[in-house]
Every structure is written in C-alpha cells, then in structure tokens.
Amino acid sequence: MGTTASQLRKDLLSEYQELTFLTKREIILAHKRFSELLSKEDRNVPTPRVPMEKVLSLPELKSNPFRKRISHVFSTSDMKDGSLTFEDFLDLLSAFSDSATLEIKSHYAFRIFDFDDDGTLDGGDLEKLVNCLTGETDDTRLTTEEMRQLISNILEESDIDKDGTVNLSEFQHVISRSPDFVSSFKIVL
C-alpha cells in the first residue's frame, strides 16, 4: 500500500470484495495504481476522477485498440468525457477479471463494440470494429470489397432474426459458443 496515496477504508474494501470479482489483493493494487494516476490536487477530492488520457496511458490499455471505447463504457461522468472514478475503475477490472462470468463479459463486450451506443451492432459499428482490429496503417486495412464481404458473412452467421443488426441476445448467443472468448477477454494489473 502506498505511503503517499490515501488508504482505502476497511469497510469499503470488504464491500468491494463482495460486489466485484476481485480479490482483496487485486483491489488494493488497483487502488494504488489509480492513485498514481491522479494529479496532486485531485487527491484530496472526495471522489476523484481520472481524465481519459491518463487512463489510456496505463500499460495494460495502451496497446488495446478498443481503449477509448472501454473508457467510455465504464465511465459514469455526466459530461461523457470518458473519465473514471475509482469505482468505475473497479468495475472495469471486475468485468475483465478471471473470475467474471460469461454474461458479464459478453454484456460489456457488446457495449464496447457498440460504437454509436444505439444498443445494436449494425453495419457501421462492425466496420469500425474491423478497422480497429486491422490497425491504423493503410497497408493493413481491408479493401472496401473485402470489408463488404466480411460484414455480410458476419451478419449471415450471427444475425438470427435477419434484421441486419446484431442485438445483445444474438451477440451473447454467439459468444457463448466461442471457446476463446473468456480467456482472451481478460485484463490483469
């Protein structure tokens, strides 16, 4: 536990343990890392908020193509700027932890992939997804033709009611059949 950072209250700690999938050690470590991200004057604010840029500078998130979406999804700020309080941070770690259930993970995965926040994954969302996954440079992107083919294949596979979008239950249905999802959708500090 850091000497300069403020300590976590014991009762809060046990409550967090009840409510998340994290162990005590992990919560304490998370608190330490979170406090390191805070600037000096924010430390004394009752519920400090870390701005999005600082969150994205965490080594675990730095190389992740979905980092901005992750910040947005877990943020509770009214200004929609992607900043996180400590509780949001814990929510994030809990959802990405090893012991989280498949439902929690798939629920949050759906929200992360939903780029326009409309509750379904339509063609635009999928296209942005693929572009995120294939990297920034031009020679790794797919051509428009390939993109179109890819998206139509995906919709064919997972859109059960054939409405052209993937909604939460269809997404969860597909994800539940994937053997890799739980082990790859993990972030450990």
């Binding site: 005590k24 992740n64 990405f96 294939t134 294949n153 994937s178 082990s183």
Partner: protein, 753 residues
C-alpha cells in the same frame, strides 16, 4: 441474502450496487434481529455469527490461495509479450510441476524415508553393498555419471530396498507400501488429469461447431486483451488482418476443386514416406539397444563414451531430426495449415511412441536374459553352499553348522534386472534433459547472439532474412514435456529417485525457459489461440499415461522379481505381497471377501454392466444433442415467420401498424415464440436471458419501426421500452409499454445505472 450473493453478477454501476447492498444489509440486520426472538435465540445468533465468520474465513483463504500460486508474475510478463498461447505452455509446465511434486511427496514419504530411517544401513546386506570386484572404481566420476557404483546401490534404485515384511519400531510394511505407492502414482495422476480435462471442457463450451461461426469469432474474440506490449500488438494486428483475408479467400476457394487425383496420390506417397521413416527409426533403436547389451558384456574400460551411451544419443537425435523431416515431407500434402498442424503433431506422437516402445521391447529381451542368468547363479550358489557345509561338517565334525560368514561385498548375487531397467530410464531422462537444454542454448541463444552481433557486418539483413530470431515452438515443447512425463511414469516403479530428479528438472526448466523466451525469442507472426488445444494436450497426456501404465502393470503381474534384490525378492510374483498381507495382517473374513470378489464369475458381469452404462450414457448425450438442434431450428423458424409476418403487415398499412403498436397486446406476441427456446437452452446459466428476450424482441421491433415510420409518439414509447426491459426483473418485462411521461427522445442511449 441471495440477492447480496448475486450482486456481483449484475452488470450495474458500482454506485447502484453499493446502494442496493446497503439496503439489503440493513434489511437483513433488521429481520435477523427480529427472527432471533423467542426460543433458540442464542443458538440462532450464534449460528449467524459463525456463518459470517465462515464467509470471512473463506474469502481470506481464497485470497491466500491466489497469493500462493508460484511464478504468477513471470507468466503474466510472458503473456503480455507473447500472447496467451505461449503463456499457456508455462501454465501447463507449472501444472506438471505441481503434479510431480505430489508424486514426489508420496514416493519420498512412504518409500524412501522409511527405508532410510528404519531399514538396514548401507553395507549390511549384499544387496546394499557394492560388489568387491567393483569397489575399486565405485567412486569414479565416470562410473557415477553412468549411475553405476555407489549410485546403483543407493535409495535411488529398486535394488536397494530390503524385502523384510515389516521394518522398524512401527512395523512399517515396506514391500506392501512400495507396491501400493507404485500403483497409486498412476491412480493419482489419472484422477488429476481427468479432473482437469473435465474442468477444461466445461469452461470452453463444446467447441464442436468449428466452422459455424468463423467470421464472428474472428471479429469479436480474436483480440487478446492481455497484450500490453506494442510490438506484440502490431503483430496481432497483422495476424488478424491476414487471417481475415485468408478466411475471405478460403470461402471463395471452397468452390474450387483442383486435380483431386494428383493430390490424393501425393498424400498417399507422403504417408508412405513417413511410415518408412517411422519404421526405420524403430529398427534403428532396436538395433542400437541390442548392440548396447553386447557392449555391456564386454569389459567396461575398453568402451568409449559414445559406445556406452549410444542408445540415449540415438534416441535424442531421432527426436531432433525426424520432426523437421516430417514437416518437409508434409509439404507434398497441401493441407490447410490447421489440419497440417494436427497431422504433424500426430506423427511426432507416433514417432515418440514407437521409439519408446521399441526401447521397452529391447529392454524386455534383456530382462529375460538376466532371468536366465539368475537361475544359473542361484544353482551355483546353492551348490557352493552345500560344498561349504560338507567341508565344514567333515572338518569340525558337527551337525550344527553356522551359516557362512562372508562379508556382504563378497557374496555372489544374481543380476538385478529391475535396477538395470531403472538405470536405463534414468539415463534416458538425463540425456533428454541435456538435449533439451542444449537445443535451447544453441538453437535460440547462440542464434540470437549471432544474429544480433553479426548483423553489422553481413551481406543480407540477418534479422529479417534467413536465421532471424527464433520463435517459441509451443507444440514441440509441450510434446516434449508430455513424453518426459511418460518416461517418468514408466520408470518411477524401478527407480524411486526418478521422480525427485524430475521435480528438479521442471523447476530449473521453468526459470531457464522463461529467461530464454524473454531474451531470445520474438512473438509469433501468426499469433493463434491456446484455448481449444488445451484439452487436446490433456488428452495426449491421458493417452501417454495409459501407455506407460501398461508395461509396469505387465511386469508386476507376469515377470518374477529378482531373487537377490528389491522389496519383492524371494517371492514368486510381485503382487504376492498383497496376498501375504491379506492372509497375515487382516482379519480372516476380509480374505474371504477378496477371494469371492476376484472370482471371474463376479468380475465379468461387472465389466458387462459398465460397458452397458457407457453405451446408455452415450445414447442419452446423442439424444440431447439432437434435441438442441431441433430447438435451434425451431427458434430460427419462429424468427423467420415473425419477420415474414411483420413484412407483410408493413407493406399494407403504416397507420394500422402504428395503432397496433399502441395496443398492449403487442408485447404479448413475441413471448409464445420465445417460450419454446428458453427451456431448451443447454446451459442453465442463461436464465437471465429469458428476461431479456421479450425486451429484445421489443427492442428489435422498436428500432425497425423507428427506421420505417417517421415519428409518432407511440413509437418513441416503443423505443423507450427497450432500455429498462433487460434490467427489470422478469415479471415486468411483459407489461404494457410505459406511458408517455418518460420524456425521453428517440434513440436515447442506454441509461447508465
């Protein structure tokens, strides 16, 4: 209280959860206090306190357990650099280490320790002493390296153990314990492997529908969130892009059907080549083992190091050379890479297996020879003893003749085939370890050093071009680990020290390979997943376990133990120890029970019953799978029907549709279609989805309506039903859409609770 336990499963915001938790806790406190009134109050309060303490204790214990797992940091580092597939090798290594540690504990505690502490010391009886002829060289380094000399006559090997029925103050039955531990090692390993397999298959889903969701999986699950290193991330991007492009091309190419006859011919040819090389390697090993037996008969001084260790060298070389050979031959076959990988693994497996078994057969020939020799020596000893008695009685003229006093080192003793077999296994393991470490050192480290430093003065770019840095060969390493374990299982019965050796090897291997991977290897170009293969490797391990069980059980049951060494000497068969114990130590009726139980008339019906049970379970599981498919099809049909119905309606009258939207009945239309699938879901954990489905249907319709129909108040209401739908407990989801008082506009984002 149940609510508290399930709170962490809800995807809500922390604030809301905290609030709810506090409410629930207050509620529980209040009512628990109330319930405690009247009789039994103290007991109840006590129970409550104990339950709370239990929960706290469990939590602390869980925390402690996770803190105890060794090497977690190291593996996490490897994972962030190389992705989860390379890390899975290290996790497997760690699991093996745990298994071996338990086996070592069993062997050491129940066999070695009693013999050392309570048995006779070194030099007291013939089997524990180095024969006089060899004593001059018993301490030589070269002899010790060969596990001869003092090593051979120590606790490490079978021959050291005495065959007294009980030893020491506690009447510890060593021979019985030796036999039981030997068999128990297999039993424990079997249990652990199957338990891990069951656990893995539970988490990973069925993994059966391989080709069904290729694109979706690639899209949603291909990113490995544990990657924290930008270089790995770049590689991952490249590999994802390549895999997308590949699958797209694959789809298109599935129609193409080239010259199938040529391909078939080539494949048959390739398989023929590989069979030839497998046969060749088997023959080579047999030949070499036979030769080494001839060498053993000659005087040891005249042999060179190579001739003494020929068998091990040849086996290790074969293990090194053949896999790349198989890979090059496999180029002829032109399979899809994943299928080619499976074939490759299968062939390497066959190679190792063939080698090991030829080695064993050659050894068994040797054993039979030794048994012959033993009979000869036994006859000679009896004749010598008779001579001695005859001389003694003529000399001293008494009939009460004391047994001859010969120092233990001079006693003639028969060859101890079990110890020799044990020595062979230990030598094989040691040479395997040496070869592995050397390959890593040369193949990875020296190569990396050369590439890094020679790059400055070489014509072409070494780093990008030919040698470049090595990649971590996961499958090769895992197979090596599995086969090493197989050898340990086989040899543990004849050489109790082998398990300890293996523990040391795994420990050092962990650190060594972690260091090697971090400093000399680069991330794979095609980063692929670890998961599904996990059960594949466990299955291989199980197979190897069975195959290594067979020789040991065979020898216990059929071969007679040597008469001059080991805990079973003097008996006709090794398992006679168990019979003896039952007769002498246990009460009489247990002996009767065993006699009845081993009656074939009882065993055959039992086996028949088990076979029938397996058949029945198989049939039931097939039926369940069929039922699943049926339900899936029904679900699909229901959706299609609904879509058609909607489409028909839409084409007719938009206004009518709006009015229909106002009706409360509207939300009742999907449930009849929904009811059929939810009960049929194979995984029980999908219950929360039942609540979500009606909401989802509403959602879909709401969105579609939004697209087609321009704004009318009822539609916005329909859109609004969606957000609270999934979150509200099941009962409310079927209710009518809430009134217009919500005041939220179209396309409102889901509320952040």
């Amino acid at each position: 209280k149940k609510l508290i336990a399930t709170l962490r499963n809800k995807p809500w915001r922390m604030k809301r959860r905290l609030k709810l938790l506090k409410e629930c806790q207050a509620f529980v406190e209040k009512f628990e206090g109330a319930l405690g009134k009247g009789k039994g109050r103290k007991l109840y309060a006590y129970k409550v306190i104990m339950a709370k303490k239990m929960i706290k204790f469990n939590r602390d214990f869980d925390n402690f357990k996770t803190a105890c797992i060794p090497w977690e940091r190291k593996i996490k580092e490897v994972e962030s650099h190389f992705g989860s597939s390379v890390a899975s090798y290290f996790i497997f290594l760690r699991w093996m280490y745990g298994l071996n540690l338990v086996l070592f504990g069993l062997m050491f505690g129940l066999v070695v320790l009693p013999e050392v502490m309570m048995g006779l010391p070194y030099g007291s009886i013939p089997r524990k002493t180095v024969p006089r002829a060899q004593q001059a060289k018993a301490m030589d380094y070269s002899v010790l390296l060969d596990f001869g000399g003092y090593c051979k006559y120590s606790v490490l090997f079978y021959g050291y153990y005495n065959d007294e029925r009980t030893i020491g103050l506690l009447q510890f039955r060593l021979p019985l314990s030796y036999l039981l531990v030997g068999v128990g090692i297999f039993g424990y390993s079997l249990m652990v492997v199957i338990r891990t397999m069951a656990r893995n298959s539970d988490e990973g889903g069925d993994g059966g529908d391989d080709g069904q969701f290729t694109f979706t999986f690639k899209m949603f699950t291909s990113w490995d969130y544990l990657i924290g290193n930008p270089e790995t991330a770049d590689n991952k991007y490249a590999s994802i892009t390549t895999s997308f492009k590949e699958s797209i091309v694959d789809e298109q190419e599935n129609q193409k059907d080239e010259n199938i006859h040529l391909r078939r011919f080539l494949r048959v040819l390739a398989n023929l080549f590989i069979l030839c090389s497998l046969g060749g390697s088997g023959f080579l090993i047999y030949f070499v083992v036979k030769r080494s037996q001839d060498f053993a008969k000659l005087d040891q001084n005249t042999l060179s190091w190579y001739e003494k260790n020929e068998v091990e060298v040849v086996m290790s070389l074969l293990g090194l050379v053949c896999p790349p050979l198989f890979e090059t031959i496999a180029e002829l076959e032109e399979y899809h890479p994943r299928i080619a990988l499976k074939w490759q693994l299968g062939r390497i497996f066959a190679l190792f297996l063939g080698n090991l078994y030829t080695f064993l057969f050659a050894l068994f020939d040797d054993v039979n020879e030794k048994l012959e020799q033993e009979k000869y020596i036994k006859n000679a000893t009896i004749w010598g003893l008779k001579e001695y008695y005859a001389n003694y009685s003529t000399f001293h003229n008494t009939t009460d003749i004391p047994p001859p006093e010969i120092p233990p080192a001079d006693v003639i003793r028969g060859p101890c085939w079990e110890t020799d077999v044990g020595i062979e296994f230990v030598k094989l393991t040691v040479s395997d370890i040496q070869v592995t470490y050397l390959t890593i050192l040369i193949g990875d480290f020296v190569r990396a050093v050369i590439v890094r430093f020679l790059n400055y003065c070489w014509c072409w770019d070494l780093e990008a071009g030919f040698p470049s840095y090595g990649e971590f060969d996961i499958s090769g390493n895992v197979l090596g680990l599995i086969f090493n374990q197989g050898m340990i299982w086989m040899g543990a019965f004849y050489a109790p020290g082998l398990v300890g050796l293996n523990v040391l090897r795994l420990l050092s291997s962990m650190y060594y390979q972690c260091w090697a991977v971090m400093s000399c290897n680069v991330p794979h170009e095609r980063v692929f997943k670890a998961s599904k293969s996990n059960n594949f490797y466990m299955g291989l391990l199980l197979l190897v376990l069975f195959l290594s069980l067979l020789p040991v059980v065979y020898t216990i049951m059929t071969l007679p133990p040597s008469s001059d060494c080991g805990p079973f000497s003097g008996r006709a068969q090794m398992y006679d120890v168990v019979m003896e114990t039952i007769e002498k130590d246990l009460p009489a009726f247990i002996g009767n029970i065993f006699t009845y139980a081993t009656n074939p008339g009882l065993i055959i019906p039992a086996v028949l019953l088990m076979v029938l049970a397996i058949y029945y379970l198989n049939a039931t599981s097939k039926n369940y799978q069929n039922a699943n498919l049926e339900l899936k099809r029904k679900m699909q049909m229901a959706r299609d029907e609904e879509k058609n119905r909607r489409n028909n309606k839409e084409s007719t009258n938009q206004v009518m549709h709006d009015l229909v939207g106002l009706l409360p009945n509207r939300s009742l239309i999907p449930p009849p279609a929904e009811e059929a699938p939810p009960p049929g879901h194979e995984k029980g954990s999908k219950f929360p989805k039942v609540a979500k489905r009606p909401g989802a249907a509403d959602n879909v319709k709401g969105v579609n309506l939004q697209k087609d129909v321009s704004l009318a108040a009822p539609n916005s209401r329909a859109a609004v039903t969606r957000p609270p739908g999934p979150r509200v407990p099941p009962g409310n989801a079927r209710g009518p859409p809430p009134g217009p008082g919500r005041g939220r506009g179209r396309g409102a984002p889901p509320p952040k609770c």
